[in-house]
């Protein structure tokens, strides 16, 4: 059963944040959005999310630093980096992989159908992984 799983979307673009809300509004998932990495970490500390969508480039501590902090404190929470699929962005992420961080990618801008597929797939996978 997938009731009330919590999804946290961290992105400084209002349009992107709204895309996640609209994509998941008819599901049983709870969606919270914030516009900075700092706010995202505060939200996670207050109530651990089940899945995080994280923008790569934001004002403040930015996506990479937010990713490091998320995985340090909540290594079990899957993170999708929301980014354009371009080599110059991937270079930044290769270092994170080399440092042992684990994440998936979703291309920006992400359409509702893709967001739903990723959320269902990831959270159902986590549920299965948790099954004894």
């Amino acid at each position: 059963m997938e009731s009330q799983k919590r999804i946290l979307a961290i992105d400084d673009e209002e349009g992107v944040r709204n895309a996640f809300i609209l994509a998941l509004e008819d599901t049983d998932y709870t969606v919270e959005t914030v516009s900075t990495g700092e706010e995202g970490l505060e939200k996670a500390a207050a109530n651990t999310p089940d899945l995080v969508f994280l923008d790569l480039h934001m004002p403040g501590i930015g996506g990479i630093e937010t990713l490091y902090r998320l995985q340090k404190d909540w290594p079990q929470v899957p993170v999708y980096i929301v980014t354009a699929f371009h080599e110059r962005y991937f270079k930044e992420l290769e270092q994170a992989v080399a440092d042992g961080l684990s994440f998936e990618l979703i291309r920006k801008p992400a359409e509702a159908e893709l967001i739903c597929a990723v959320v269902r797939g990831t959270l159902e996978t986590v549920a299965r992984d948790d099954t004894p």
Binding site: H86, E104, L105, A117
Partner: protein
């Protein structure tokens, strides 16, 4: 004559999560197709051009490249049953038996 079915799996990096996904996919293909498949595992981070060419929108993504019907599965690659249905593996296995 046995036809090799080609698949491409797009993952992010070489994390334990990516390795687990690769294992599930490979084992599922072995289960249904024995040795008559080719699976190429592609790290999107070091192959952005390949991801672009195959219109990859998220990882992990598994594509059946051919022979037809072509198909793709995005996000949840952890269930052998779901993979088999999405990639028409049962039909392929029946053809080969």
């Amino acid at each position: 004559m046995s036809t090799i079915t080609r698949f491409a799996l797009f993952v992010t990096g070489n994390s334990s999560r990516a390795e687990r996904t690769t294992d599930v996919v490979r084992n599922t293909l072995k289960q249904y197709l024995n040795g008559s498949f080719n699976l190429e595992v592609i790290d999107v981070l070091s192959n952005a051009a390949s991801a672009e060419r195959h219109e990859i929108f998220a990882t992990p993504t598994l594509i059946r490249l051919g022979p037809p019907p072509n198909a793709r599965v995005i996000g949840d690659l952890s269930s052998s049953g779901s993979l088999a249905a999405a990639l028409h593996l049962r039909e392929l296995a029946a053809e080969k038996s």
